[in-house]
Structures are given as structure tokens and as C-alpha cells.
């Protein structure tokens, strides 16, 4: 009866002298590993979003949280007139990144997505454009 208790305490006491595994968030910041799938960003090249509104990411998205509407610019090229992700539904699977034929979308290390209202979870194109 007493032996298991002592064994348990031994483990507890041994941990008191080890380095803690918990992080003192938010004062301490985690070291985000490569390949982490956080908030999306739309890549920019030549001052324009690379996205050509091919509709592949909304097609592949299992949570159906991406809305794309294509438009035609002055040069008759296709661009995303609307690009929106409903972050409340996103499951961070990264399929959109994989599907994109033009490397227009990636997932950043940004994981702090808490917010106050539902509307704040709708990430419009402006919010998603990568900040340089």
C-alpha cells in the first residue's frame, strides 16, 4: 500500500529538479517548427497577389471555408476579386496550399487567432495579403 505512494512521490520530486516543459505563454514564445500550419497568407509578387482565382483551393477545401470570386482586370487577366476564408470553419489541413498551381497561398506561423466577434474570423483578401 505504502510502496506505490512512495514511488509516485519519487517521480514528482524528480521532476522538481528538471527543466519545466511548459511555456510561460505569453511572456515566453514558442519556437514554431517548419511546416507549421497557421493562418493563411496570400503571396504577393510584383505588387499583386499571385492568386489567379483558379478556384482550385475552394474546390479542394474539405471544410468549404474558402470563397473565391474571379474578376477580369484591365489586361483581361484573371484575378481574385474576392478571396475570403472563414477561419472558424478552417481545419488547417493545408490542402489549399497543396492545390494551388501558382504558389499563391501559404500557411504562416501565426497561430494567435482568438478574437472577439464572429465577423473577425472572416479573413478577407486584404487581411490575408502577406505583409512585407
Amino acid at each position: 500500500m505504502i510502496m506505490p505512494l512512495i514511488k509516485g512521490l519519487q517521480i514528482t520530486i524528480s521532476h522538481m529538479f528538471k527543466k519545466p516543459v511548459t511555456l510561460q505563454y505569453p511572456t515566453e514564445r514558442p519556437d514554431v517548427k517548419p511546416g507549421f500550419r497557421g493562418l493563411h497568407a496570400l503571396n504577393v509578387s510584383h505588387d499583386k497577389a499571385k492568386c489567379v482565382a483558379c478556384y482550385l483551393c475552394p474546390t479542394v477545401c474539405p471544410a468549404k471555408c474558402i470563397t473565391v470570386e474571379a474578376g477580369e482586370d484591365q489586361n483581361h487577366d484573371k484575378y481574385a476579386a474576392k478571396y475570403e476564408i472563414d477561419m472558424l470553419r478552417c481545419i488547417f489541413c493545408g490542402y489549399c496550399v497543396e492545390a494551388c498551381p501558382v504558389d499563391a497561398i501559404r500557411m504562416t506561423e501565426q497561430f494567435e487567432l482568438a478574437n472577439y466577434s464572429r465577423a473577425d474570423f472572416t479573413y478577407t483578401k486584404d487581411r490575408l495579403l502577406e505583409k512585407k
Binding site: 489567379v52 483558379c54 475552394p58 474546390t59 474571379a70 484573371k78 498551381p101
Partner: protein, 821 residues
């Protein structure tokens, strides 16, 4: 039958089949790029290569090689796959491969085959094409960089559409699919080329970038413009109809559509759609609730029940059979009035009076399939192409593929008159009945009348004074037409009818029927008379009895009744009499005068603007039901999107009114069809489910009878031009004005003049001209050409601005003066 073996499977096919057809018949898919079942074999792409035991040593194209007895065919060997991969590599060599921004992606034969054959890399390198892309055209975008030179666009435009807009230009690697002088495309805009293009070289501009093919919800339905009844597939997403999708297996026309069907769907989601009921308060139409609007209508109609003769109802032939049946039941039954009509009265008289008298049924004895089976076509007016373009394609095919002889009797020339071997007789405007009477007389005089035709003597007496001069044609020509039609093995008369053609009335139907009966052409396959109703459900409206049957007033009588005050309550379901009926001023006055008018429509039309209550109705894309096309084919219309705003279908509106007026109430439109099948004899035994995708042609028992038709003598007025109205190719009725497609290519009213008349009046193309008749004057743009003969002016009736009905009075021809503004 020829027997052969394909991939070890035994198959027997017709002797004119190709290896490709034989493989298809036994369920083996051979990849194709340039082949199309509607077109002549081409053999340009070499994607369909197969191996034939008897022709070892080389690979054989399956799409052009006819089958022979005992052939042993392999469709997939390593060698074949290698060859097909090579074909794809070569095609991709100069191809831009911009699938992410190409609207064809997902529905692209090149993309699909590249994926299927795993062509991941290319052994060759070359520069890409750098052709200029045609962005200017509002309907068809041409990106020749993506073209794979399959030639399908040029072939369909030539073989079926008979327009011939494209041809290959330049040679070798420079070769490109080009237009006349490599200029902008200026054609009929039927979109046939866009629909057959296997890649994204030809795209529908109104649909550009709107959605991916796979994301569209596809609903098989029927075109809601003309009476041809083409089947189409609506592509919709998020409650919006975004495009029409081509399906080569749909309908008699194999998915072909005209410009209205292909590009005119935008009226469904137009910004201008009515989304809430309107009720007139203090002289102004104001938004109201359905309860309020319907209560007002109900109280007026129930008051009208005590004096049914003061109530009248007009319906458009665009409603479904179910709605029209309910309409008839509500007004003729519950309310008790016989003042029911559609389309100005005269526009369907050819069926309700003409065909009924001549054949004993208010329908044509012939059907659409008879066109290609015929040996001699006699088309009344070259306008048959403009009114029913896809019937025009059938005529083209009959003439070019089946060797059908074509004769056109018309007051102007047109596309049909340019077909190979087409013989055209241009007669004096308004003399159609006189012409047919002269033909009948000539048949009798030449001793060509079929034996034992009853009533021959009466007809003989009636046409005794008919003569070629009365129709403005030479006697020799009349004799020749009479002879060619009478001696034809299978002679078919094609007669379009509609609001623009007041002369195509009961008398003309009788006169044309007389010729068919007299020459023994009725009751045979490929022969007889085909009367082509203008609207998608013109035949259905006749079948459902939307015309006065006893002592009731017809549409013209109703308008007069409104003016005189005898009609106090008028219900208008979808009609737009102000624009489409003759004598606009008179109609406007009548409708302003009537005590109470209800209009249910998609838009606040010129007519709805005068109403006391306007009910927002649903378009064909928002409801289910059936339409009956001109060949008596009953077809299923299916709901593709939810109702726009608060709009209700006419079925819902009429059902609600019927219930509150103490009439029948139905749970859904399907119940109405069951009742139609039980009460309308022609529809006996039909069920909506049984109609399936292809629909059903209901049979008619024809009791042919000669009915003398009196020709009115139109006295030409000296110094005046003869104005004839009609349909423009891009429009149908007044609804196509709300479709962007038709409005891009034909936005405004015009008057078409002969070059000689124009020169005499110093008018050039595009001038604004005032056309004045005894009824009024209208300002339109002039179009100058050689299509209309000297002394004749043609003007389409669809438009609200420059509406030609301002100056017409319902007679066959209106005599006018034309002057430059």
C-alpha cells in the same frame, strides 16, 4: 450489318459506321479530339489511332475508317498509347497550358487526355504561340493560342449553322483558325462553335471567369424563348443561372442552340427583376405584401363573378402547361368568363381556327423530325430562320445532307434563301393567301391534284379568280412551284406564326393546308404542314384552351372592351400587349382606361407599369412543369434555382387565387399535370415522370378537309412603302430584351430598307429615320441592304423604344412613308 471484333468483343454495326462508332456501340471508349458525332469525319488530330489486324504496320484513325467485315481491332496496345502520348506532347508543345486561368479547365478534352495519358513532360521544346486574343467581342472570346486545330468550330459553323465564319488561314506551323480577313467575329452568335471547341480557345464571354464547370449545378430544362423547344442544361451556382451547358446528347438538335438559348439566359437573374408585389396607392405603384396584393385581386375577381362578361384575362404562351391549365380553369371555370386569350388573338389563330378547320385538330399534322425526312420543303417566309433558328439548322441539314429540295416563298430574302440550291420566290408583301390560292389553282389546272380529295369543287370555285399577279409573281413561277410541290415524294410546308406576323393567320393556314391536302401530302411521314408557334409554349397554350371558345372576346376584342368600358377587370399573366400588340397608342389607352388591371410578370414591363396590382412572377428557371413545343412534343421543365426575391410562380399565384375564389386547390404543379392527362384528350396517358429527358410527341388524328381561304386584296398605296413586321434573329417576343446576350448584338429597333429606296430617300445605314403611317410615327435607326425588295420596309417588333407597333394596326402590311430625321 457488318461484324467485327474490337478488343475481343464481337460487334455488329451498320455498314456506314466507322471503327469509332462500332467501338462506342459496344461500350469501348476511343479518345477523340477532332471528331464530333454531328459533323462529317475529319481525321485531323490522330488521337483516335487504333490497330487493325488486317492493316498491320501502321496505326489507323478510328474516326474516319469505315468498318469492314471480319475486322479485328485493338484499341489500346503499348504502341497505340505511345502514339497517343506523342500526339498530346506535340499538341502541348506550343500550347500555353494556362489551365488555372482558362475557363475550359475541368471540361477540357486536352486537359483530360493529358491527365489520362500521364503526359507529365515534353521531349520537345518550342516557343509558344503569340496570337492576339480577341477580347472585343461581347459574346465569344477567341484565344487562338489555345487552339488545337481540330477544325470543329469551322465545320459546325459551315455544316450545321451554314454561316461559315471561320476557316484555317496560313500554312504549316503558322496555320490558325481565322475569320474573314482575320478581323473581328461578326456572325449570328449562336455559340455552336463555343460549345464544340474541345479546349478553351473559344469561350463564352458573359460566363468568363464566373465559375468552374464542376462547381455548377446542372439542370436539364427547356429553352423558354421560341416554340422550337430546344432542350438545354442550365448551369447554376448560389441561386444564379450562370450559363447554359452544352450536352451533345440533348434533344433532336443534339445540344445545339441559337443565340437566344445560348446567350440569352441573363434575364433570369437580371437586376431589373421584380422582387416584391406592387399595389397602386395614390396613383403610384408601391411595394406591398403578398397578402395585401392577393386580397385586392381576390376581391376584384370575386366581385367580377357576378358579371363575368366584365372580366377578361390574357396569358402569355411562356407559362407552363400546368399554369395555363389552371389559368383556364380559374377564369373560364371559377370566374365564369370566356374572355380569355393569348398573343393578340391573330398570332395563334393559324392553329386554333386554321388547323382546326383544315385538320380537325388545333395542331400541326407534321412534327420536327419530318423536316429532314422530307424531300421538298416549302417555307413560308425566309423569317422561319429568324423566328425558329434551330429549326433553321434542321432545314440546313436537310438541304445539305439529305438532299431535301428547298423552296421559299417570302416577301424578303434571308439566310434560308442563300442555302445551296434554295429557290426563292419573292412575292408582294401581304399576298401570302393569294399566293397559296394561286398555287392551289395551278395544281388543279395542271391536273396534279391527288385523286379523291373531298371538297375539290368548292375549292375550285373559291380559287377560280386566284392569279399569280395578285401575289406579284409570274404565272410560270406559280406553275413551277405547284408542280414541284405536287410531284414531290414528300412535300412539307413550314409556316411560322407569331405576333410579328399578322398575315400568318387562319386564312393562310387554311390556304397552305389546302395545298398540302390537294397534293396528297398530308398523312405521310416527312410531309404535310408544320405550323410553328412563336413562343416556347404556344402549342401548349392552344392545347390548354387559352382562347375564347364560345362567345367570349379575343385579345383584340378585350382591348376594345377595355376602351369602351365593358371590360372592368383585366388579369394579365406575363403578356406585354403595350409593346407586342398592334397599335400601341390604342392599347395603352385601353389599359389606362380599364378599371382594374393585374399584371403578373418578371419585370415592370410597359404593360405592368399601367397596372393597379403587379405580382412578381418566376422565370422558367425557378419552376417545374411542362412546355409543348411546335412539333407537339411535351417536355419537362425543371427548377434550377430558388425564386428571386419574393417572386412566386404563376402556378402559386393562380393556385392561391383559385382557392380564395372557391375553386380548386392543388398541392403541387404535378397534380395539375395529372389532371391535364386525364382531361385534355391529346395528353392522355402522359405523366411528368414518363416524359423523362426526351419528352413525348403526342399523336394527332388528322381529318383533312379543304377549307377555302379568302385572300384579302391589299391595295398598295402610291408613293408609300410597305412595312412588314417580324422577328429579329437575336430576339423572341419582348423578354429577350432583358437578356444581356441578345442586347449586345441587337440592342435597338431598326427599319430595314432596300438600297434603292434608301438612295432615293438619301438615307444611309445608321441614320435615324421617322417611319409614319396612318396610325402614328416612330423614330428608328435605318438599316440598308438588299435583303428586302424595293418598296418594302422591315422592322422587328420586340422593342419598347422605337416600338414598331406604334404605327401598325394589325393588318398584314402597313403603308408608310420613311424620312430622314
Amino acid at each position: 450489318m457488318v461484324n467485327l471484333t474490337i478488343d475481343g468483343k464481337q460487334v455488329a454495326v451498320e455498314k456506314d459506321a466507322t471503327i469509332y462508332d462500332a467501338a462506342k456501340a459496344c461500350g469501348i471508349k476511343i479518345p477523340i479530339l477532332c471528331h464530333d458525332k454531328k459533323l462529317h469525319p475529319f481525321g485531323g488530330c490522330r488521337m483516335c489511332l487504333v490497330e487493325v489486324e488486317q492493316m498491320k504496320g501502321r496505326l489507323i484513325p478510328a474516326c474516319t475508317t469505315p468498318v469492314t467485315e471480319g475486322m479485328i481491332v485493338q484499341t489500346t496496345t503499348d504502341e497505340i498509347v505511345k502514339a497517343r502520348k506523342l500526339v498530346l506532347e506535340l499538341l502541348l508543345l506550343k500550347h500555353p497550358i494556362d489551365c488555372p486561368v482558362c475557363d475550359a479547365a475541368g471540361d477540357c478534352d486536352l486537359q483530360n487526355l493529358t491527365y489520362e495519358y500521364k503526359v507529365n513532360m515534353n521531349r520537345f521544346v518550342d516557343e509558344k504561340f503569340n496570337h492576339e486574343i480577341d477580347y472585343e467581342n461581347p459574346l465569344i472570346e477567341r484565344d487562338m493560342n489555345r487552339c488545337i486545330h481540330c477544325g470543329k468550330c469551322a465545320r459546325i459553323c459551315d455544316e450545321i449553322v451554314s454561316y461559315g465564319a471561320y476557316t484555317f488561314i496560313n500554312r504549316g506551323i503558322e496555320a490558325k483558325m481565322g475569320t474573314e480577313f482575320d478581323g473581328p467575329l461578326n456572325c449570328e452568335f449562336c455559340g455552336s462553335c463555343v460549345s464544340v471547341c474541345p479546349v478553351g480557345a473559344l469561350n463564352s464571354r458573359p460566363f468568363k471567369f464566373k465559375a468552374r464547370w464542376w462547381a455548377l449545378q446542372k439542370t436539364k430544362s427547356v429553352c423558354s424563348y421560341c416554340g422550337t423547344g430546344c432542350q438545354l442544361t442550365l448551369g447554376s451556382k448560389d441561386g444564379k443561372v450562370l450559363t447554359t451547358i452544352y450536352d451533345e446528347n440533348q434533344g433532336f438538335h443534339n445540344g445545339q442552340l441559337c443565340t437566344r438559348g445560348r446567350f440569352g439566359y441573363q434575364f433570369v437573374n437580371s437586376e431589373k427583376r421584380l422582387t416584391a408585389p406592387l399595389v397602386r396607392k395614390n396613383g403610384k405603384l408601391q411595394e406591398a405584401t403578398w397578402e395585401e396584393a392577393l386580397a385586392e385581386v381576390t376581391s376584384r375577381l370575386s366581385a367580377g363573378k357576378s358579371d363575368p362578361a366584365s372580366v377578361a384575362a390574357l396569358a402569355t404562351a411562356r407559362l407552363t402547361n400546368e399554369e395555363l391549365f389552371l389559368f383556364e380553369k380559374l377564369f373560364r371555370g371559377t370566374v365564369g368568363t370566356d374572355n380569355i386569350d393569348h398573343s393578340a388573338g391573330y398570332a395563334h389563330e393559324a392553329l386554333t381556327k386554321g388547323a382546326l378547320a383544315s385538320f380537325g385538330v388545333a395542331a400541326s399534322p407534321a412534327e420536327i423530325a419530318d423536316i429532314q425526312k422530307s424531300s421538298q420543303l416549302l417555307v413560308v417566309k425566309s423569317d422561319a430562320y429568324e423566328t425558329h433558328p434551330v429549326i433553321g439548322f434542321e432545314i440546313n441539314l436537310g438541304v445539305k445532307r439529305k438532299g431535301v429540295a428547298l423552296r421559299i416563298v417570302s416577301d424578303k430574302k434571308g439566310k434560308l434563301t442563300r442555302l445551296p440550291g434554295a429557290k426563292t420566290t419573292v412575292h408582294a408583301p401581304g399576298s401570302e393567301v393569294a399566293l397559296f390560292n394561286a398555287l392551289c389553282k395551278s395544281v388543279i389546272d395542271q391536273g396534279l391534284a391527288a385523286e379523291g380529295v373531298a371538297g375539290l369543287d368548292a375549292l375550285k370555285a373559291a380559287v377560280a379568280d386566284a392569279s399569280a399577279e395578285k401575289a406579284g409573281v409570274t404565272a410560270e413561277e406559280i406553275a413551277a412551284i405547284a408542280k414541284e410541290f405536287a410531284s414531290a415524294e414528300k412535300g412539307l410546308i413550314i409556316l411560322p406564326i407569331g405576333l410579328g406576323y399578322p398575315g400568318h393567320n387562319a386564312a393562310l393556314a387554311n390556304a397552305a393546308a389546302n395545298l398540302a391536302i390537294l397534293t396528297g401530302q398530308v398523312g405521310k411521314e416527312g410531309a404535310g404542314l408544320l405550323i410553328m408557334g412563336e413562343k416556347n409554349n404556344s402549342q401548349g397554350a392552344v392545347d390548354m384552351g387559352i382562347y375564347p371558345k364560345a362567345t367570349g372576346l379575343n385579345a383584340q376584342g378585350i382591348i376594345d372592351g377595355c376602351t369602351s368600358g365593358n371590360i372592368k377587370t383585366l388579369f394579365v399573366a406575363g403578356e406585354n400587349p403595350v409593346v407586342s400588340y398592334p397599335n400601341r397608342k390604342k392599347v395603352e389607352k385601353a389599359l389606362e382606361n380599364v378599371e382594374f388591371m393585374v399584371v403578373s410578370d418578371l419585370f415592370l414591363t410597359e404593360t405592368a407599369a399601367l397596372a393597379d396590382v403587379v405580382l412578381p412572377a418566376c422565370s422558367f428557371a425557378e419552376k417545374s412543369g411542362t412546355f409543348t413545343s411546335l412539333g407537339r412534343r411535351v417536355q419537362n421543365v425543371r427548377k434550377a434555382i430558388p425564386a428571386i426575391g419574393l417572386a412566386k410562380s404563376d402556378f402559386e399565384i393562380l393556385n392561391a387565387l383559385s382557392q380564395s375564389l372557391g375553386g380548386a386547390r392543388y398541392n403541387n404543379q404535378g397534380e395539375v399535370f395529372t389532371e391535364i392527362a386525364a382531361t385534355v384528350p391529346a395528353y392522355k396517358g402522359l405523366t411528368q415522370a414518363g416524359l423523362k429527358d426526351e419528352g413525348a410527341v403526342y399523336p394527332v388524328a388528322v381529318a383533312a378537309k379543304l377549307v377555302p381561304a379568302a385572300a384579302k386584296s391589299a391595295a398598295p398605296a402610291a408613293g408609300k412603302l410597305a412595312l412588314v413586321t417580324g422577328s429579329a434573329l437575336y430576339h423572341c417576343g419582348t423578354m429577350s430584351r432583358f437578356g444581356e446576350g441578345p442586347m449586345y448584338v441587337c440592342p435597338d429597333a431598326y427599319a430595314e430598307l432596300n438600297v434603292a429606296d434608301a438612295a432615293a430617300l438619301k438615307i444611309v445605314e445608321g441614320d435615324q429615320v421617322t417611319v409614319t403611317s396612318g396610325t402614328g410615327a416612330v423614330l428608328v435607326a435605318a438599316k440598308v441592304g438588299k435583303r428586302v425588295p424595293q418598296g418594302v420596309v422591315f422592322s422587328p417588333y420586340h422593342f419598347g423604344e422605337g416600338s414598331v407597333n406604334t404605327i401598325t394596326d394589325g393588318s398584314e402590311v402597313t403603308y408608310v412613308t420613311v424620312a430622314k430625321k
